[in-house]
């Protein structure tokens, strides 16, 4: 969980970070190794110095300690100290077998007859001497004379210089290794960048303009690694295929307008054909009674009404198909047109149609007419197909809080899972079926709207909510 941020990084950045981390680890391990060797060498030096000092003194002091000759012990320590002036030996204390101080190089720190015990805490034997981090180390050894332990000798070793040396070496090691690590990390970064260049190309191409993957130009594909070349070629083939598919879907959606009209062609043909009988009768009447002015006027009015209806129907069909209407604002008349187109279909199918347009024109004009008409017509056609005779189809357009709500209801059995997927989801279109519902989904999405599906009292309700504040209009 803690490294979630790491997993969220681009793979190129992650590889760089991993390489840098490995280099730093390598540097630390190398530094640690160097320090360990230095520590071993320093400990060996200390042990040798301590051993020579205390063992040498122990041999010389033996008879004096045995005889309790304080002055000779002190004199020997003083001369030994004078001979090693400037050395690391800070203090040497000699005690008798009872643990009482006989003499020390600094008698004020270790007075005659004082207990040696305080000097024994934290003391080490010469062979066990090692750096502990303390600037002063205590070494203790027995004073042996003629095979008998006659006293003890304790020496304080000043290791300040060794600690300083260790600090200095640590500093230089860290600086040196940091520089080496940075150099290696930079070299690693360059190498990894080169290795990851094709991947970077692909990542950039995948996140191309508008988030649509685009193919990598052939001139940009690095020549050399056959695996990488094959990878990029495969990617290019896939993006081309995806592009072709998107184009096909776009064309299919374009054709959907004609498809929906095609679905209306039968009822519209009846709508035009039905008045034709009346019109023919009226023209026969005019021809038969040309002298009867009242009959001619009555028949002419009948012909006029019939032709007006046919004119309205044909205009609605034309409007639905005219591409030059793209960009026109939505008006209440668009819903009248839709009713004109759809009512014959509902009538032909024996359906009851409820039509209620409650949204003000001032709200509608903030939406484009063409996609809204296509959405409503597609939903109405699917509703009509679902609602069996005798059935019900209803359209209700309302406005509330800057949202135009278009609800289409039908008394059909409801949408199947595949149809719901087409309507509500953006994933791949399920096999089979038309693309009408998917077109509704895409058009609503392009208008920043939302779709809701519900079943209420045996009715299927599909509601399209279109924001009128920030739409494309």
């Amino acid at each position: 969980m803690k490294v979630a941020w790491f997993h969220n990084l681009p793979v190129t950045a992650r590889v760089h970070l991993l390489v840098a981390a490995l280099m730093v680890t390598l540097g630390l391990v190398a530094s640690q190794g160097g320090l360990a060797v230095l520590g071993t060498v320093q400990d060996a030096r200390l042990r040798e110095a301590a051993r020579l000092h205390v063992e040498g003194l122990s041999v010389a002091l033996g008879p004096f300690v045995l005889r309790q000759d304080l002055w000779e012990v002190y004199d020997l320590l003083s001369r030994a100290r004078a001979a090693t002036e400037g050395n690391r030996l800070l203090l040497t204390v000699v005690a008798d077998a009872e643990g009482r101080v006989m003499a020390a190089t600094d008698p004020r720190r270790a007075p005659v007859d004082a207990a040696i015990a305080p000097f024994l805490t934290k003391s080490m034997e010469p062979r066990a001497v090692r750096m502990t981090g303390d600037p002063v180390l205590l070494v203790v050894a027995p004073v042996v004379f003629q095979g008998r332990k006659v006293g003890q000798i304790v020496t304080e070793l000043d290791v300040t210089d060794l600690l300083a040396e260790r600090r200095q070496v640590t500093l230089w090691l860290l600086l040196g290794n940091a520089a080496a690590t940075m150099t290696l990390a930079f070299a690693g970064w360059l190498a990894v960048s080169r290795l990851l260049h094709p991947l970077g190309l692909m990542v950039a191409a995948m996140a191309g303009r508008d988030g649509v993957p685009k193919p990598i130009p052939v001139t940009d594909i690095p020549v050399g690694d056959p695996g990488v070349m094959r990878l990029l070629a495969t990617y290019n083939a896939m993006t081309t295929a995806a592009h072709a598919r998107a184009e096909a879907e776009r064309r299919l959606a374009e054709r959907e307008r004609f498809v929906s009209l095609g679905r209306l062609s039968s009822s519209l043909a009846h709508e035009i054909n039905n008045p034709l009988g009346g019109l023919m009768n009226a023209t026969d009447t005019i021809l038969r009674f040309p002298d009867r002015a009242d009959v001619v006027r009555q028949s002419a009015e009948l012909v006029q009404r019939g032709l007006a209806h046919m004119r309205d129907v044909s205009r609605a069909i034309l409007d639905q198909n005219r591409l030059d209407r793209a960009g026109q604002p939505l008006r209440p008349e668009d819903f009248d047109d839709l009713r004109l187109l759809f009512e014959p279909e509902a009538s032909w199918r024996g359906l009851t149609l409820h039509w209620r347009i409650d949204a003000p024109a001032a709200v509608m004009v903030r939406l484009p007419a063409t996609p809204v008409r296509q959405v409503v017509l597609n939903l109405l056609l699917d509703a009509a197909a679902a609602a069996r005779d005798p059935g019900l189809v209803a359209l209700q357009v309302t406005e509330d809080a800057q949202v135009l709500a278009i609800a289409v209801q039908d008394s059909g059995p409801g949408l199947g899972p595949d149809d719901l997927a087409r309507l509500m989801e953006a994933g791949p279109v399920p096999q089979g079926g038309g693309v009408g519902l998917r077109l509704v989904h895409d058009l609503v999405a392009s208008l920043h709207g939302t779709l809701h599906h519900d079943r209420v009292d045996g009715l299927t309700v599909i509601t399209v909510a279109l924001p009128v504040g920030g739409g494309d209009a």
Partner: protein
């Protein structure tokens, strides 16, 4: 020789050590006696530190004065010197007034150095420069350094003072030790190894001149009366021998020769004079005081 080693006022341990040292010293000396017929003159570092320049100057001056071969023989303790004198291993010696008085029957003073105008000196009781003690009585329970058990200024004066107080060094001090050198006493006190020390006043004053940094770390809290300076002595039964007489003449004439003057300058001495009556009465009185101490306290 054995008689000397079994002195009643010396602890057994000291006696045993001195016996070993004496035996070794005499053995070495015997070899030398057999190898040369030079006049043998003994010195001890108790009084004179091992200063090569001083010893060389003294040897040159005496050799010139005597007009014959001259050996300077150095021993660690006065007891070794005394033993060598008494058994004839050496012909003459520069020793302390205390062993001379102890063996007055057998020894005769050939001459006495004069220091600051007279053949006398004092014993100093010293403590560390920052020690609050004002006198011997303040040092009860202290650690104390003597120079030599046969030294007047480095032992007898303090021991007899304590005897007059009804006590002994062993009882009065928590611990006392012998350094076998007056300079060592000053070192032991200056370095803090011991709290106090009994030292030859002449040596302390000379150190003040030669090594002021050392003596400055000590403070004199008591001075004895003026006592007879350490004399040049020979066995009484040999003072008429030509060599011994020549030695006496060379000693008395030191201040009149260039080499003798140089040696005396190095020693910070004025000259060498004949002994005077009663010069060592002070030491005799102190020995008597020491012997007054009840045997139970010794």
């Amino acid at each position: 020789m054995l008689r000397m080693n079994v002195e009643p006022d010396r602890p057994l341990a000291v006696t045993r050590r001195r016996f070993v040292q004496l035996s070794v010293g005499l053995a070495a000396n015997a070899t030398r006696v057999g190898a040369a017929a030079n006049f043998r003159f003994a010195l001890t570092p108790v009084f004179l530190d091992n200063d090569a320049a001083v010893i060389a100057a003294l040897r040159t001056a005496l050799e010139q004065g005597m007009g014959e071969g001259f050996d300077l023989i150095q021993r660690r303790t006065y007891q070794e010197i005394t033993g060598a004198l008494l058994d004839g291993s050496v012909d003459a010696a520069w020793t302390c007034g205390y062993p001379f008085v102890q063996h007055r029957q057998a020894l005769t003073v050939l001459a006495v150095p004069t220091w600051r105008g007279r053949p006398r000196y004092q014993s100093y009781l010293i403590v560390g420069a920052d020690d609050p003690a004002q006198g011997l009585a303040d040092l009860s329970g202290a650690t104390h350094a003597f120079s030599d058990p046969d030294s007047n200024s480095g032992f007898l004066v303090t021991a007899s003072d304590l005897a007059r107080m009804g006590t002994t060094p062993e009882q009065f001090f928590a611990r006392n030790l012998f350094t076998f050198g007056h300079r060592n006493v000053v070192r032991a006190v200056a370095d803090g190894l011991v709290r106090s020390g009994s030292v030859d006043g002449y040596v302390w004053e000379t150190l003040t001149e030669m090594e002021p940094a050392l003596s400055a770390r000590t403070r004199v809290i008591a001075r004895s009366e003026w006592l007879g300076f350490p004399p040049f002595v020979a066995r009484t039964d040999r003072v008429v021998e030509p060599g011994v007489m020549a030695c006496r003449g060379a000693l008395l004439g030191l201040s009149s020769t260039t080499a003798g003057r140089a040696a005396l300058d190095l020693l910070r001495l004025d000259g060498v004079a004949a002994s005077e009556p009663g010069l060592y009465d002070g030491i005799t009185a102190r020995i008597a005081a020491l012997r007054q101490i009840p045997a139970a306290l010794r």
